[in-house]
Point group: C2
């Protein structure tokens, strides 16, 4: 009888394991949401959580016994946590792969290839030369020092790879995802990812084996490397042809006969895990297999948008934060901070990438401005660069110092990319109704019974928020209302005014269950009344707010929910949910998720 | 610097870990879906997957080296897999807790208490007496033999606990979930679960410590037990009052400001894991904390139905199958099969539970028939009994033989419960349109251009399926059509006939993009044409099929999707998805998920 030993984790180890996952996930989500609030990639906050919890901060201040109780340096808890982190990284790359749409790449054709080649070639070349010429400068790891070419190729790839999820989110924010330029950037980034990961698989195959197993491998000699590369290419080709076709055929069957959507999720996860196990077996990392599985499955239009979104949400909010936070547990970011490495890595990755992609875009006849914006778009490294660095560090290819430099570079480029594109293209960030509102901006139980009382009540609240004179607001709004009433169909009303001394737009919404007559065309009394106050020098903002309000409550389901909620916070929660769902509806033809 | 050791899992271990999870999840889902197809609880197939993969089958036939490569008996892979399984069990019990709605229990009041007490008292008493009197007969584990009272209390609990998710699913299937009897059964089962888990927590506290750590604990003596019980009760009371209130307050904030729905999921998971870690720390099992966290959070109406459903789907389809399959990995079900234990456990659990709940129901003045059905409803043990058994075995409380007996009993009662209730109440299982259809029953590219051709085409397909004469079907349908055309509004049509020699109903659907005039009241040409053939001796079936077809395609979104699909399998997939969503809409006020 060969049964798994029962109870291999002791209760004390179980306690710490559950606590670790809870703490990592909890703090990563909190800091991730804070980053998102400040229009930065969530991954920034998630990595910061690990730095806070790890040796850099908590480890430096907490007594040693306490810190090693929470995060023991070795033992069964660590092994189990490592297993979970590994699974998280695998699923994360699977989701990144899901977002690669090969048909989009084909449609962009030469332009995508040109931008992609430019974006890869320049930073790769510079990175390769510096790493090969001065390996000590950047910090090769124990195995990297023995394999200068593998190390140099790795540095080249690490500096030229692109973060698909971060780019997709930036383009969505700037309302560019469906534009020609947006599609080009996405396609180039996909191609870039594909080339980068294949290159990384080759690097891992080229690596001399770890010191511990050197003897066993020595007998295999060079044949082993060739076998690995051949098998990797065979796997890649098979998965993207036969495997892709099989998934495409199997998905409708699974969706027709298995429980929905859980059955479909289980099916795609099994495929991802099998591919991951296979590539790990080949000697290249599991996440390469998961990535390719994602590409193969993601291409099928049978994988419905809602299922993709559920997988995406789950992996990005449950697994990915634990993975990113775990990075900080492994390295002391202060001890291992090396200014030279950070400066070199950062400048090659940023300038090389921007310049290379710019040249590629110019070759395919884009304007200067668009080419420049494309360059900054391609520069975002985000999660992908960090995963690559983490793997290379685990494989002994790079030093802790270079890993820290890569993390800082990846975060820096991701933070820079969006604002730079916005500045170059002079685009406004797409704003949502929610971004103008806090609890104070919503009145769920108004006392007003007629139009004048309602405007008065809203004006008083606006006065509290803005610090302006309540009566002045009231008069300005009433004056506008006298020209023509602002009732819209479906029980909406938008009393508004432009004010000279208002520093920023102010929106106050009253939810009135009984309804107030605002003289709408359809005769319906207004149940959702939005007071829109905008600065006189921002003529477009009024239209923007009006359109945000009207489109949000255009959906009957959202109006119905707005009548059911009890408190201002619930009102905001309802808007948050409605926003996520409408984004899903808008982008139903292809998924470009968020980091 | 106290960082977690890098790369604690070697590549070969990672390969096996990913492979194990993939194989366990894959086979568990396939067999789980097969069980579901045969109207049995999915957990049956999931446990069977483990028995197939474990020592019982695969281990008996595969060479030892190969089997131990896939499922190594010890080492880091096993530890990491154990960690994942433990996490799965924790999340599973959290979801079970989410389904406990304390307010429903209050509303049912005395009746629920009476049924619950009856259903607990009788099997508990009989189980306790037999286990205390004859511990060897049932099979006490090493620690159970030293603690006869704890062992007897555990057996009593194991025989009297109820499986909330299985019961909820059975009631949904029989269309009884919202009936008075359904609500009573659910409430009693919730109360039963709550009492059972609290009792189990006490058992764990009563247990003498494991042999290995006996010395350390000896110094604590009896004070340790009292402390544990006091802390457990304090935790329970605090979580169900203050904790519940805090979650209720925090949820709207999280839903308003975090990404949706992933942020909310992460939030509730963190709470669950923290509670689980705390109860594990107290010395009672982690899943008790997760269960109570589920009860505390699940009570909040701020946790929206769609979020619950997403959590439910994910845990039930990704984590739970791995947990259930892992049970079979640990035990050889043939070696450890003990007929005496199975017979005793099975008969006490079944007869004791049915009789006890029957008496409880009679006391609260239900009819004989309803009381009897309630008894069988309460008898389903499902997942919950199995988890309890698994924990008790891991704790050394019970022998492998008793564990096997509990698993068989739990599966047996779950399989019996639904059909027994159905027979007693003479209810029909709620059928869905999908249950009448396979690929052959759907024509997505019909050639017919007018009504006669269309009926001819559908009749020919029906003839192929049923083996009847195509012309006879055609004539019968046409004859009915001559009386009055069968077009319905919104582009639906339902040509139909009753046939003497038809053994079972047959439904063929044609999706005709151009549309065929069936003389509908709204003048729309029919785009979805269902040929309904029913046996003459089943007069109600025609109405049932007609209503299923009409209500399914009553939703504009479903009709639109039906126009977009390409193949019959995609048509079925679309119906599967639409069915899951309409169930969500119908049961939006409270969740009663499926096993």
């Amino acid at each position: 009888m060969y049964a798994i030993a029962a109870e291999s984790l002791k209760p004390s180890e179980v306690t710490v394991l559950l606590l670790d996952i809870a703490v990592l996930l909890g703090l990563a989500r909190v800091l991730g949401e804070l980053a998102r609030r400040w229009h930065m990639p969530a991954v920034l906050g998630e990595i910061l959580a690990g730095i806070v919890l790890g040796p850099t901060l908590l480890g430096a201040f907490l007594p040693v016994e306490m810190f090693t109780w929470v995060f023991p340096p070795e033992g069964d808890t660590t092994v189990a946590l490592d297993g979970f982190v590994l699974l998280s990284a695998t699923l994360l790359l699977f989701v990144v792969g899901l977002e690669v749409d090969l048909s989009t790449v084909w449609r962009q054709g030469l332009a995508a290839i040109s931008v992609s080649i430019g974006g890869i070639a320049l930073p790769f070349a510079v990175g390769f030369i510096i790493a090969y010429g001065y390996p000590g400068l950047l910090g090769a790891g124990p195995r990297g020092a023995n394999a200068p070419i593998a190390f140099a190729v790795f540095v080249g790839i690490a500096l030229s790879i692109t973060a698909l999820p971060v780019i997709a989110k930036i383009l969505l924010d700037l309302n560019l995802a469906k534009s020609d330029m947006g599609m080009l950037i996405i396609s180039s980034a996909m191609l870039n990812d594909l080339v980068g990961w294949i290159g990384f698989a080759v690097v891992l195959a080229l690596l001399p084996v770890a010191p511990g197993v050197a003897e066993a491998a020595a007998s295999n000699g060079g044949g082993q490397v060739v076998t690995t590369i051949v098998l990797t290419i065979a796997f890649l080709v098979l998965m993207l042809t036969v495997g892709r076709w099989l998934c495409h055929r199997a998905l409708p069957y699974v969706q027709a006969h298995w429980s929905w959507p859980g059955g479909t999720m289980a099916f795609v996860f099994v495929i991802a895990l099998l591919c991951a196990a296979f590539t790990e077996y080949l000697g290249i990392h599991s996440i390469f297999g998961a990535f390719i599985a994602g590409v193969a499955i993601g291409d099928s239009h049978h994988l419905k948008e809602r299922t993709r979104d559920t997988i995406h949400q789950f992996v990005m909010n449950i697994f990915a934060p634990v993975f990113f936070a775990s990075i900080g547990l492994r390295i002391n970011f202060i001890d291992k901070f090396d200014l030279t490495a950070v400066a070199i890595v950062g400048s090659i990755a940023l300038f090389g990438k921007v310049a290379g992609s710019f040249l590629g875009a110019r070759v395919s006849r884009m304007s200067y401005r668009e080419s420049f914006a494309t360059g900054f778009g391609m520069a975002a490294q985000g999660a992908v660069g960090i995963i690559l660095g983490q793997l290379a560090r685990d494989a002994g290819l790079i030093s802790d110092e270079l890993m820290v430099a890569i993390v800082i570079m990846a975060l820096g480029t991701s933070m820079l990319s969006g604002p730079a594109m916005q500045r170059i293209l002079q685009r406004k960030q797409k704003r949502t109704l929610l971004s103008f509102l806090t609890d104070k901006h919503v009145i769920t139980e108004p006392k007003a019974r007629d139009i004048n009382q309602s405007i008065g009540e809203l004006s008083r609240r606006a006065a509290e928020i803005t610090g302006l004179e309540g009566n002045a607001i009231y008069e300005a709004v009433l004056q506008r209302e006298r020209i023509m009433h602002t009732g819209l169909p479906h029980g909406l009303a938008v009393p508004h005014a432009r004010l000279d001394d208002l520093p920023r737009p102010c929106l106050v919404i009253a939810r009135n269950r009984t309804g107030i007559d605002f003289d709408a065309a359809d005769g319906e009394p207004a149940r959702l009344i939005a007071l829109l106050l905008t600065p006189s020098d921002q003529p477009d903002t009024q239209i923007e707010l009006l359109s945000l309000f009207a489109t949000t409550f255009n959906r009957a389901a959202v109006r119905r929910q707005a009548m059911e909620i009890q408190t201002p916070t619930e009102f905001l929660a309802m808007l948050n949910q409605a926003g996520a769902e409408s984004e899903l509806i808008l982008h139903d033809d292809h998924t470009l998720g968020m980091p």
